[in-house]
């Protein structure tokens, strides 16, 4: 019974490399030579950075899902010490800062893409928007710290009651991830200005997806904090 070989799905524009006889072990001469013209075989593989960021965001989402379920279980633990804390007003301002940061980052991303397509030749416009995003991110982080100080001034520390515990844990874990995002953003900005380590589109996209995710996550956390705490 003869089995017919199934060729690769895309069109080859030349003969497959000649099979070279070798030892019974099969040998590396089966490989396509480095100079072989294989451009016609469609390379449908994605960018690892793009895949990687979605995978990473899935893990972060799972972490916050675990913390959310911990919150629900703790609320219903039966000891009835679940109370209510007033969310510091500055949180709303911080939320605005983060959302604005997403907007400025999108502007930056488009300007960077235009720069890479040679439609723009001036680095300063994208840099302005990148700097604006960085500034807004720092405003958010400082604002979160001020929110913590506000709670402390009301006598609400990490162990005071379960509501304050979850407030600090949720906002703390989120702000650690935001700091990571700021680190990624500064790395992207460094590369954008660098001649030796140029910025890739995928890196810029990954940085911005991460940032937007932090914004969406924060909106979700604000909702949970408002609803539950």
């Amino acid at each position: 019974m003869t089995t017919i070989l199934q060729p690769p799905q895309a069109e080859l524009d030349h003969e497959p490399p000649q099979r070279q006889t070798g030892g019974p072990g099969g040998n590396f001469r089966n490989l396509a030579p480095a100079g072989g013209d294989l451009r016609a075989i469609a390379d449908r593989s994605g960018e690892p950075t793009r895949t990687g960021i979605w995978v990473g965001l899935a893990a972060i989402a799972m972490t916050f899902a675990a913390l959310t379920s911990a919150l629900y279980v703790r609320e219903g633990s039966g000891y009835a010490d679940w109370t209510h804390i007033e969310l510091p007003q500055i949180l709303w301002f911080n939320t605005l800062a983060l959302i604005l940061g997403s907007i400025t980052l999108e502007r930056a991303r488009h300007r960077v893409a235009a720069f890479m397509r040679n439609e723009e030749h001036d680095r300063s416009v994208p840099m302005f928007w990148l700097n604006a995003t960085m500034a807004l991110g720092l405003v958010f982080v400082v604002g979160q710290y001020l929110a913590w100080l506000r709670l402390r001034s009301e006598g609400l520390y990490l162990p005071t009651n379960p509501n304050s515990s979850f407030f600090y844990v949720l906002t703390g874990v989120h702000v650690i991830h935001v700091l990571g995002g700021l680190g990624g953003l500064s790395r992207a900005m460094f590369k954008f200005r660098s001649a030796t380590h140029p910025l890739r589109r995928s890196t810029m996209d990954a940085t911005s997806y991460y940032w937007h995710f932090m914004g969406v996550l924060w909106v979700y956390l604000m909702f949970i904090l408002w609803l539950k705490l």
Binding site: G25, L31, P48, T51, V55, A59, A65, Y79
Partner: protein, 588 residues
Amino acid sequence: MSDHVAVHAAPTSFIRKYVFSLDHKIIGLQYYGLALVAVVTGMVLSWIMRVHLVWPNAPIPGLGFLSKTGAPGGVVTPEYYLQLMTMHGTLMVFFVLTNAPFAAFGNYFLPIQIGAEDMAFPRFNMMSFWTTFVAFCVLIAAFFVGDGPPLSGWTGYAPLSAVGGDAGPGQAVGQSLWGISIFIFCIASLLGSLNFIATTLDLRTKGMTLSRMPIVTWAWFITSCISLLAFAVLMPACLLLVLDRIAGTSFFIPAGLNVGDHIQPHQGGSPLLWQHLFWFFGHPEVYIAILPAIGIVSHILICNMRRNMLSHKVLIYCMMAIGFLSYMVWGHHMFLSGMNPFSALVFSFPTLMITIPATIMTLIWLGSLYGSNLRINSASLFCLGFISMFVSGGVSGFFLAQPSIDIYLHATYFVVGHFHMVMGVAAIMGVFAGTYFWFPKMTGRMMNETLGRWHFFLTLIGTYAIFMPFHYLGLAGNVRRYSAFQDDFLVPLIPVHKFITYAALFTGAAQLIFIFNLIYSRFKGAPATANPWECTSLEWSTPSSPPPFDNFGGQHPVVYHDPYQYGVKSSTGDYVMQTSPERVGETL
């Protein structure tokens, strides 16, 4: 081919080549070495435990130096027994079973099997190994601090693990080190899983569609998907545990708890919450331990049977089903936790469902082996041993899955026997099989076949001798995590324990054959040909053994076949390499 891969230049300095290496092959070997150190440490701990159980007053040489309070004069105290047991479990589950079949072999061979030059993120890869190493150091440090390592078990149940030093020796600093170590391990695992997923999806070479990936590549990919979501839950759990311990929060500690004559200054927490969070991670974790071994064994068996499985696609679907269902069964560890009995039904049902894909896989293996003229070598023998242990150990799972039976068997040696046979033996047999199979590719030399066969038979007999009696002990009511058997119903079981201890020491000694074989063959083993097993997958088409720095010597392989073209007439014999454009001839 992806020129967007972060291809790195070949390193020149010793540090860059062998220590802080970006090369996935070196990182894989580093993981293997770490797993080897961890497994030897874990085994020694188990020998101390076994000896203590049967000869409670016998001094263990050297132990008195390690812990003056835990083992005065070398005699293990009951608390120290639990401390040793906790470290045994933690080391084995995290640093051996998650590292060796998945991180070690996966890092080494996944990029090669898909035709890539390296992982998608080589620097993340290096970071993930060294982060694991730091986690290991933090954990081992627990032996040497204060009153020693924690005693709350590898499961670290709250409130015992959360209240601090009042709960016993090792519960002050030791438990905190445990929590921090596992937290760090989670970060390392997440980085590693991210790498595996991105690499598998994006760095496959031309012609390597997903359906042309070998089973073992699929196994690593599915494992990394499970691992990503599971460790992301354990991380916040460990964070909350450490906060309860050092920051005075009450996530897991209820009110009015009197521990060590102190009323604990906490209230309102839920010990059950820890169990939920932990086992939501913990059950997928055991499938993280077994799935790579399933993939390795299937891959090696196909090569040695010289024909494909009855359906290797169904094997892959079964692995996916197991991965998916593994997230729905965590409550079967909590049948006796005081949860609503109806929830026991809800968890029991998917637990029994998960036996279906496992059974299908077993039937496919057995059906494929039947009449296959399997080539017998150390690797294929360990594959057969894997199947044997997987069935023997898995069958007890059917019983434990039913709450009515589990009421009796929970926390007995029956459970201990179950998980040791599937994880502690079957998964390790998968690692042994992989070692014997891939050693020629990693080192260019063959392992000694005679020693390999002795290793196999002694291990198979030894592990059955150790763990089969556990089921009998469990049914007789022998409670687990006891350091001494003094109750009326336990004393008659001591002769069984004596037999098990002798078997454990014997089997442990038999592993010296493997260690010797590894080291001896590395330097003096018979030189291996390029493809000694006549296997078709891409790792056997590298230009040298070990493979060159970028795996394929500056070239990019092109794949023309699915991975299991065996039993066909070709110029190379009865198989066709994946990279061979040869048209396949008549089937033999």
